[in-house]
């Protein structure tokens, strides 16, 4: 299986800083903003961003929630393999808040569509934004685009873009793999 490295840990570090700064530019002290990482893979990315915002940029009182979208997906009973749910950990209401949905790879847009439905179970947000680490252009099934993107990647359908994080795979990297 051929593998091609797209981003190494240094590149990823730089991108994380840029994304953190872009968020601060739009959300100031985050007093009316909550961050929602999509389970399972978006959670690692969201935790990293929060870590950076708190420790390097000294943002206090950040609210981070983790959202599982399994029960909201549109491919229930249509997949060959059943889906395993992960936990949802949102201990606050999002009523009238600005919500930033965070995921690692934006591909068809179907996960984000499910997340948009799921998030409504926690209230009516004032605004929802989408932040992704990798935006795979030209592969969307739905009219969904990110507000913040780490890197745009053009890949064909036979290829898979994989993001690994130190916390789960011991190394930060983004690579392209033949399916």
């Amino acid at each position: 299986m051929s593998k091609k490295i797209l981003l190494n840990s240094k590149d990823i570090e730089i991108i994380l800083h840029r994304l953190a700064c872009q968020l601060i530019e739009n959300h100031n002290d985050f007093s009316n903003t909550v961050l929602i990482g999509l389970q399972p893979r978006g959670a690692f990315f969201a935790n990293r961003l929060v870590d950076l915002l708190q420790n390097v940029y000294h943002i206090k009182n950040l609210q981070l929630g983790l959202l599982d979208i399994t029960f909201y997906r549109d491919d229930f009973r249509r997949r060959t393999e059943p889906l395993a749910a992960t936990s949802t950990e949102i201990n606050f209401l999002i009523e009238d808040k600005k919500v930033v949905i965070i995921d690692d790879v934006l591909y068809s847009g179907r996960s984000v569509r499910a997340a948009l439905t799921a998030i409504q179970s926690f209230g009516r947000p004032k605004k929802i934004e989408l932040l992704v680490f990798i935006d795979r252009r030209f592969s969307r099934h739905l009219p969904i685009q990110p507000d913040y993107r780490g890197r745009q990647v053009d890949a064909i359908n036979e290829e898979k873009v994989l993001v690994t994080w130190k916390e789960s795979h011991e190394i930060d990297s983004v690579y392209l793999q033949q399916k």
């Binding site: 399994t70 936990s87 926690f122």
Partner: protein, 309 residues
Amino acid sequence: MDQLSVEHLLGIKYLKPNDIDLIFKTADHFKEVINRPIKKVPSLRDITIANLFFENSTRTKLSFELAEKRLSADVINFSSSQSSLKKGETLIDTVNNILSMKVDIVVMRHASVGAGVFLSKHVNIKIINAGDGTHEHPTQALLDSYSIREKLGSVKDKKIVIIGDILHSRVALSNIFALQMQGAEVKVCGPTTLIPKYITSLGVAVETNLIKALNWCDVANVLRVQNERMDINYFPSTREYTQLFGINKEILDNLDKKIVIMHPGPINRGVEITSDVADSNQSIILNQVENGVAVRMAVIYLLAEQIKR
């Protein structure tokens, strides 16, 4: 991800330990869902479920219906009191008529033992047994084990005593199967007339002294005396039953340890259990009811996952 090893939920005895694990893990997620401000997920929006209650039920029916609605399924209800059964229609005919309305899952309670198994052999549909006579009540046993797991961390190696009318209880039988499958030790306690003759062949010990049973156990699951199923007198009087097998606060306070009290409902307050015990902090009776919805959501969700169109 794992799938259930069964196509229907007809009884605990057909399940494997992995199935119970999977149901509990899924129920954990649904328990979080039903505590959200909006307690509904859209997973089953193209599934229709018929609740066929050929025997009376309040909480099981409500719990199933709520679980189905929380999963966004379409629900139709049927109770025998308003049905054509009284006009002489057979069970298979009734169910086939309902099936021709394009139903995907049937939840059935029936007074006859094995009604679910019988139906599963004659109609092509997913069946969930919500109680068949004095045989099994699998979702009740699952929610009981789930509640023990939630309160004590796990079911394995715990000592559970089931107290009361074991003879007429489908809850007792399903509980025995479920608890043993998860590695718990089970005893039954009650008047000898209400304990099935061959119960020890299931690996269950019998204790007729309530105090001894309570001192032995970690959890006491107290059952109701099912007067409606009794065709003869099994004990001299309700008063005598209460004196010998009723649990009150004094008994509970005099035990060596703090045990957990469960009851599948409906409670006959003052008969098998006094109000101060039922409402005490040792009782997890209302947790059982809440967990019932989450566990039933998990069962329905996992069975619905197997339906391919």
